[in-house]
Point group: C2
C-alpha cells in the first residue's frame, strides 16, 4: 500500500493572489521523493468553519494531513482553534511551548504571544530546535464532528515559507517520523509527436503498466521562424515495489513511437 | 453582495510537485482585481471521481467555478468526462469545436484529437480566437448527483500555463463575461513591532472596520550583524462599496501604533 497524504493551506493571502504558494509545492516534492502519494491540496481562508470542514473532509480520504499557516498571534491566526473545534478537543496551554515562547519573547511577553501555546489537547511538539512543529494524533474511531475512519496524524506547520521549509526538513531528519513509501522513480521521454498522434500508443502502455503513473505534458516553443512547435514531455512514475516498472514503461513507449519521434537529448 | 468564485486545478503533476501552480495564482490575482472573492482553491488528481466530487462540493459554495487542466487528448485528460458525469450531462460532439480542431490538425486528424470536441451537453465556446474557452452553464435547481442551490457557471480552462493565462485575459476582454465586484483596494503598512505586540491594537481596528479584510504577515530578514529582524506587513483590503474603508483602517492602525513603530518607506 502506497501511503497517502493531503495538504491544507490556510491563508487569505493565498486566495487573494498576494502570495503564490511555496509551502504546498515544497511539501509535495518531499512527499514524492519519499514515495508518499499526495491525493489533494486545498487552500482555504482564515475562517474557522472553512478550515474545520476542509480538515474533516481530508481526514476521510487519508490519515496524514499537513496544515500550513494561521498559527501566529494575530486575529487572522485561527488554525489552532479551528483544528481543536473540528476534532472535538479543547485548547490547552502547552507547557513546553510556553517555555519556548517565554524564552523567545522575554519578560515583556504579551497575552497574544502566549496564546500561541494554546494548542488542541493532546498536541505534541516535534522538531523542537527553534520553533517546534505541532503534531496532533487522532485515535480511531475518530473524534470530532464527523467520525474519521482510521487513526490520523495532523502536522501543523507555519505559513512563513522559510520556517515551513525548515520544519519539513527537520521532520524528515527524525527517523521514523514521516511514512516511508519505499522511494520513488521518475523516467522521462520527450517526443515531437502531437499528443493526439501518440495517444493510441500511450493508451497501450498505460494499460500494460498499471502500477506506473504516466503523464503527458505538451509545451509550445517558438522555432527560429516564430512558428510554434509542440514538444510533449511524458513522465513515468512508480513507487515502492513497482519502481523498476517506470523504466520498463518508458522503454515500451519509446519502442512503440520509434526513434525518429523521440527528442534526445531532451530540450532545455 | 461580493461575488465569489472557486478554482479547481486538475493534474497529477501538481500533486507530485513536478509542476508548481501558476494558473491558480494568476487567476486569483485577476479575481482580486475585479473584486471577486476567491473562497477556495483545490488541486486534485486526474481521476474522474476526484474531479467530480470536488466540482459538486465547490458548486455548493459558489456559483462560479474555474477548472484548469485535463482537457487534452491523452489518457490522463479526463476533465470533460468528469464534469459531464458530475453534472448529469452526456458528452456530445460540439460542431464548432470540431471545426476548430479540423482546421488545426488537417486531414490527418486522429480520433484522439477529435475527442477534444466531445464536451458536456450544453457547453458553449467563449474567447474563440485560437483555442476556445469552454463554458458550461447549469440552471437552478441544479442537475447532477447533488442538487446545486443556484445557477452556476463553470469555465473549463487548459492546464498549459501560457494558454491558460491567455484565455483568462481573453475572457476579461469580453464585456460582461466575468462578474464585476466593483473593484478592489489594497492598503499596506509595515511595522517593526512583533506581531504579538501589535495584536491588541490590530484587534481593535479589525473590530472597527468589519468590511475590511486585514492580514498580518511577518517576514524575517537578517540585519548587518546576521541577526534576524522581523518586519510585519499588514494589508487592508476592501471591495466594492467599502473601498474607501481600506485607507481609513490603515490610517487608524498607523495612529494607534505611533510613527516610531512604522517603517517608511516600506522595506524592499
Amino acid at each position: 500500500m502506497v501511503p497517502t497524504a493531503a495538504i491544507l493551506l490556510i491563508g487569505n493571502e493565498l486566495l487573494s493572489g498576494k502570495i503564490r504558494d511555496q509551502n504546498g509545492h515544497f511539501l509535495a516534492t518531499v512527499l514524492r521523493r519519499r514515495g508518499i502519494r499526495l491525493i489533494e491540496m486545498v487552500t482555504v481562508a482564515d475562517e474557522l468553519a472553512d478550515i474545520g470542514d476542509a480538515l474533516l473532509r481530508l481526514l476521510q480520504r487519508t490519515p496524514l494531513v499537513f496544515t500550513s499557516g494561521g498559527v501566529g498571534p494575530t486575529h487572522d491566526d485561527v488554525t489552532l482553534e479551528a483544528l481543536a473545534r473540528a476534532t472535538g478537543r479543547t485548547l490547552v496551554r502547552n507547557q513546553a511551548m510556553e517555555a519556548i515562547l517565554r524564552d523567545h519573547f522575554g519578560a515583556t511577553i504579551t497575552p497574544e504571544a502566549l496564546s500561541m501555546a494554546d494548542v488542541p489537547d493532546g498536541t505534541v511538539l516535534r522538531a523542537e530546535r527553534g520553533w517546534p512543529v505541532l503534531r496532533l494524533d487522532l485515535e480511531s474511531p475518530g473524534q470530532g464532528l464527523r467520525a474519521i475512519p482510521h487513526e490520523a496524524r495532523i502536522y501543523i506547520l507555519p505559513g512563513i515559507p522559510e520556517l515551513c521549509r525548515a520544519k519539513i526538513e527537520a521532520l524528515e531528519g527524525i527517523p521514523g517520523e514521516l511514512p516511508d513509501g519505499g522511494g520513488w522513480a521518475l523516467e522521462v521521454l520527450h517526443t515531437s509527436l502531437d499528443e493526439s498522434d501518440l495517444a493510441a500508443s500511450l493508451d497501450r502502455v498505460v494499460a500494460g503498466f498499471r502500477e506506473v503513473e504516466i503523464g503527458s505534458y505538451p509545451r509550445w516553443t517558438a522555432d527560429e521562424d516564430g512558428r510554434l512547435r509542440c514538444v510533449v514531455r511524458i513522465t513515468f512514475e512508480a513507487r515502492g515495489d513497482a519502481i523498476a516498472q517506470a523504466r520498463a514503461a518508458r522503454d515500451a513507449l519509446a519502442a512503440a513511437l520509434g526513434a525518429d519521434a523521440l527528442i534526445t537529448p531532451p530540450p532545455a
